[in-house]
């Protein structure tokens, strides 16, 4: 995902490309005399011109200048990430943190054996590690999705 993000052009060029208007106006019937002799016509657009009124830039400066709108946007991202982290920690808190309490109030659970091994040994010695890894994996996916949503919001604020 990181690699993909790196390759994606940042903002402006990506939006400039799919605009069909100027491209279509290029003369379609240009004689194919040979690329070596007649270089193709290149359209040069001043960066300043394309920048004015770009809604993505307006949002960007809201962020960097910390206007109330920008602050709200960042706080929204922070809240999303924090609530994700807290929800997953709650899962671990119940899944792992509940075990000593469970073993303490229900000693019978500790005596259950699976494949000849007592359940507490199996749960703590083996199962807890894949469990932690799965929670971590889910967090990485969901946190990256939150960030992608934020990036999309900044780049295409009208949506």
């Amino acid at each position: 995902m990181t690699g993909a993000e790196e390759q994606q052009p940042s903002g402006r060029p990506a939006e400039a490309a799919p605009v069909p208007g100027p491209r279509a106006s290029t003369p379609a019937g240009e004689p194919e005399s040979g690329p070596a002799t007649a270089p193709k016509r290149t359209r040069i657009v001043l960066a300043e011109v394309s920048r004015t009124g770009d809604p993505a830039d307006r949002t960007r400066s809201e962020l960097t200048q910390q206007t109330p709108v920008g602050e709200t946007l960042v706080q929204g991202l922070m809240r999303a990430q924090l609530s994700l982290a807290l929800r997953l920690s709650l899962l671990v808190l119940i899944g792992l943190g509940g075990l000593p309490w469970l073993f303490a109030i229900a000693p019978a659970v500790g005596r259950v054996t699976v494949l000849g091994v007592n359940l507490p040994w199996l749960l703590l010695g083996v199962v807890s590690f894949p469990f932690l890894i799965v929670v971590g994996w889910a967090y990485v996916r969901l946190a990256e999705r939150n960030e992608q949503d934020f990036v999309d919001l900044i780049r295409r604020p009208e949506r």
Binding site: M1, T2, E5, E6, Q8, S10, R60, L63, T64, Q66, G70, E71, V74, L77, M78, Q81, L82, A85, L88, S89, V92, L96, G97, P100, W101, F103, A104, I105, P107, G110, R111, N118, P120, W121, L124, G125, V126, S128, F129, P130, L132, I133, V135, G136, W137, Y139, V140, A143, E144, E147, F150, V151, I154
Partner: protein
Amino acid sequence: MSNGYVVPAIVAVTLVTVGIGFYGLRLARTTSDFLVASRAVSPTWNAAAIGGEYLSAASFLGVAGLILKYGVDVLWYPVGFAAGYLALLLFVAAPLRRSGAFTLPDFCEVRLGSRRLRTLATVFVIFIGWLYLVPQLQGAGLTLATLTGSPYPLGALLVAVVVTANVALGGMRAITFVQAFQYWLKLTALAVPAIFLALQWQADARPAVTPPDGPTFRTATTVVVEHRATLTLPDGDIREVRPGDRLEFAAGDPVPEVSGAATGATEWLLPDTAGEDDRGLFATYSLILATFLGTMGLPHVLVRFYTNPDGAAARRTTLVVLALVGVFYLLPTVYGVLGRIYTPQLLVSGQTDAVVVLLPGAALGDGTTGRLLAALVAAGAFAAFLSTSSGLLTSVAGVISTDVLGRGSVRGFRIATVIAGAVPAVLALNVSGLDVSQVVGLAFAVAASSFCPLLVLGIWWRGLTDLGAAAGVLVGGGAAVGAVLLTVLGPPLSGWPATLTTQPAAWTVPLAFTVMVVVSMASRRRLPRDVGATMLRLHTPESLRL
């Protein structure tokens, strides 16, 4: 026991480590070389390097020793050591990388802009680093004494001198490749003998781990007691033993009950239950809190996150570290459990931390296979001492030279390294009675009650002020430090005071968070003016290029 392969294996690991360090140093001369080169490293390599630095003597020797001694309740150590990386991933990894801070004192300055807080953080980094270095040296002394019969101080001093000289002369400067190599070496050194041990256990017709009549000696054994203890012999006699006492046991004799260890089958096999005594449960939750939240505050862990190119990569690296560390922690349990069968004499002698290095020889006999595997384990153990203590020493010497001595020169760094290495060496000579993992547990408790609230609140709460942060670190961290000093240096305690000081995290961590929040709210006027800009930097993805 004399094993001709052990010393060459230890020497080889040391030479390879020092050698790669110096070779790597020739490739990367400047700070920027080091950082930029590291950034070309994939998350997998970087993660193996973090794992290599993290898996210390406590993980390699201590966890198995604790399992042998106390049974199921201490399985929370490996679970917590791994889960610490999940907490790091969920709350700290990406924002910390985006903050651009290299060390914890750096983070204090970036987030709260206070020089005084920076100094306070420096003091805690040094304390935690030293506390964590002691058990590494202790483990080295123990391993060398067990395998070659040398006196305990020799091994501890040897590793202290090798590591200090190596760091001071510039080798082993957190070169990713060395640390990654150490991870795979440690994993191999535990995994390969574990397979042989499991096969041997099968071949011995699967002797029961907890026989109904309690553990017995498989062979005639002479035990030399290392720690004062009270033994309850099978015929009901109670006997006090002191270091140096020799006890003879014939093959088939039951292992006497040892005070302090869980010798009985049910006590060892089954978790603590609720009842008249809730100290066990409190200690378990305290341990969980310390290990889950302490990892993020360890000085040598955070430094490595700077080598990630961006926040997203920091997250991925942490996830891979979690997986690598998780795989490793499946193994110590095997040693602890099989130790009940093959090396019960360690329960009597008190040297339970030696179970990992003694088990291959004890279970597989004195043949070539047994000797080679014992040498492999010894090599892995030395890899653990060298890599973790080098990482720690580099971090501690770094903050001493920049924040205490106040000069960034190479000479200053060398002086700082010698200071940073000498103190734990002296301490290590005086704490041989403590379990390796317990001392490490105390370091985690201090980190969890000082840096964890600082990092978590600093990253997620705008309202944190420098005054609040300092008060929280001083009160919470100070309480944990007090508990540690009382445990290590103070008189022996019993009952609740003992539990509250040996496992302090359950009360010091909430205390630190509360003080930090309350004092910050009372000192609202001191909110840093650039908090909005800092939060923007910590939380927005780099791909926006703001």
